[in-house]
Amino acid sequence: MGDGKKKDAAKNENDNPFSTPEEDNNFNFKWDPLRNIADDPNEVLKRVDERLDGLEKECFNNKKDKNNNLENIFSLHGVTRRDFLKWSSFLTSALMLPYIFRPRVARAANILTRTPFIWLDMADCMGNTEAFIRTAHPTPAEIILNYVSVNYMESIMAPAGYQAEARRIETVKKDKGKYILVVEGAIPTGLNGKFLTIGAKGDSGLKIAKETSKNAGIIIAIGNCASYGGIPAARPNPTSAVGLSSVTNRQVINIPACPANPVNVVGTLVEYILVGKAPQLDSLGRPLWAYSGRLHDNCYRRGHFEAGEYVRHWGDDGAKKQYCLYMMGCKGPFTWNNCTTVEYNQDISFPMRAGHGCIGCSQPAFWDRMTPFEKPNADAKIILPMVEATADEFGMALFGAAGAGIAAHAIYTGVKKKRESKKTSEKKKSDSDKNDDNNDK
């Protein structure tokens, strides 16, 4: 594995493979999948190869170690070399890279298993961890995540108590600027972070998150909670929970979803290994290669949406015919993610295929903004002071009030006019009477 082209020439021994983006200023690599990758592809390949060579030297003891590493890991899980080749091709195309990068992606995956990791759990359900370590038939992405050299991860590490703390602090010091920090879960900031205390010393999650992100090589917020606060931050948010990017001034790569797709995590990490910096991010801090597509635009039920064919009740004919789930509250039109193309559960399915609408779990504040999950968005309540109604109820109430006002005004006008005309005609009558009198005289 990892038998990509070797380029011995033009290799700088002093090149720090974990160099931070600042030092990489002349690295003119356009990663944006929507643009050309670079002006000069050869230059790109050269730089990527140099970086991989350096990292391989650092992470592996010798050539044999390097070549056998992934094989050892995968053979344990019954993944053949062929499966891995297929998977690395898949990841290459998912990352929107040209095929020539396939061997390099494989090498990066190899390196990834030896890169120091810190995995923090904040206020969350550990759903992301569970999703990765408990899969029955893990794909290479999940296997790689299981074998990364985790220096600190509460759910799977052997050390406990003070020992565990020491391990984390040591990694932060020793691998400064190198380790990958993955944070899962929202960070409560209320009471100065006291809503969440972790470990033997009872440090607050806020403090730990700040400390570990300071020295990290790359920071990844995994899952919606770590990215945007998720469920802990849902209204009324008693613990003032926020996403990781709100407590650190370092760049945070958000991999939201509930749980995040392992492919998106591994892909982002592989890209980091390849080029040494974060992939292009969208305005919400999500890697563009994974989150630039709207689910609704890539959904296989979109044809039924356009045809006006909707599931109206669970299990009705439309459901059997896999009609669009818009009326059952699908939030695909409001959600950017790659579930429909990369898929979940060992790349087998995703919500719409399983027959339930998307709940928008990769968007900020989805617990507040995407609810009710099983009703169309038009049925969502607008919450204003004194008002809690759907837009239609509220609008219709105003419309009714306006209609009643208009009717009242019309009646008022009619009555008043009648009275006045009566008055004037009486007046006229008396006037003419007077005139008659005058005439008489």
Binding site: L34, S283, S292, G293, R294, H296, D297, G303, H304, F305, E306, A307, G308, E309, Y310, R312, D317, G318, K320, K321, Y326, M327, K331, P333, F334, G360, Q363, P364, A365, D368, R369, M370, P376, N377, A378, A380, I382, A391, D392, F394, G395, M396, L398, F399, A402, G403, I406, H409, A410, Y412, T413, K416, K417, E420, T424
Partner: protein, 254 residues
């Protein structure tokens, strides 16, 4: 004859709407009605086209058979017409904005910006609505109350445009058939709505709710124009058709 003239006062013609303004008025009307109907459908598809084996045609249940999926692109058509209506509204809004400031006949801003006694004049009109007395004198120009309310209506339209474009740009991925500037422009001008209204779902709800305000405006507008025609006998309702109304120097109660 003399008697009649005495009763109704001297009648004078006044030109209120040029041909251009009348065309704008009615295309605006059609486009807004079109967008209300199609918008309702998009928010809440009330018809199912395309029959499944267990469903039979039923207007009351909202099921109309139009054949196979590939024949029934009802949502596509609804969205298409919604977009066409939106384009018409956008163009009209821009023309309105231009005319509001540069119309040689009657720049609206003179009426809606609360200069001098404009607010007081609008207040007098409201008072007249409720007392039926002291009708403000009809002049060659639009009355300030209408000018203010029409301006608010156009601000609602602007809100619909902004929220609508935000929903529209959601399906763009950074570029378009006419180039990257187009989605960029839409993002640049409308992304603030995401922050203010709480994400795309919030923007959608604001779009839906503003529609109700526009419907209320339409009802109010028709009512007041009919009311004026009945009460003032100055032919206000004729303005959008012929462009003219009358000025009478006498009111009925006098």
């Amino acid at each position: 004859m003399e008697n009649k003239e005495k009763k109704y006062g001297d009648i004078q013609l006044v030109h209120r709407m040029t041909v251009i303004k009348r065309i704008i008025h009615w295309s605006f009307f059609l486009a807004v009605i079109n967008n209300i109907v199609t918008g309702f459908y998009i928010a809440y598809p009330f018809l199912i086209f395309g029959k499944t084996p267990a469903q039979s045609d039923s207007i009351s249940k909202g099921i109309i058979n139009s054949g196979e999926t590939y024949q029934a692109f009802i949502m596509t058509w609804m969205r298409e017409f919604h977009f066409i209506g939106a384009v018409i509204i956008d163009v009209i809004f821009i023309v309105w904005l231009y005319l509001a400031f540069f119309s040689w006949k009657e720049p609206l801003y003179k009426s809606f910006i609360p200069f001098g006694d404009k607010i007081a004049e609008a207040g007098r009109m409201v008072k007249h609505y409720f007392t039926l007395k002291d009708k403000p004198e009809t002049t060659r120009y639009q009355d300030p109350l209408n000018a203010i309310i029409f301006t608010i209506f156009h601000l609602l339209i602007l809100l619909q445009m902004v929220t609508g474009f935000q929903m529209y740009v959601a399906s763009f991925t950074g570029t378009s058939a006419v180039g990257g500037w187009w989605p960029w422009l839409m993002h640049f001008t409308t992304d603030w709505t995401l922050v203010v209204f709480g994400g795309l779902t919030g923007v959608t709800l604001v779009h839906l709710f503003t529609m109700w305000l526009i419907i209320i405006f339409i009802v109010y507008h028709i009512y007041t124009e009919v009311w004026r025609s009945v009460m003032w006998k100055e032919g206000d309702i004729l303005i959008p058709f012929g462009g003219y109304k009358y000025i009478r120097n006498k009111t009925e109660s006098e």
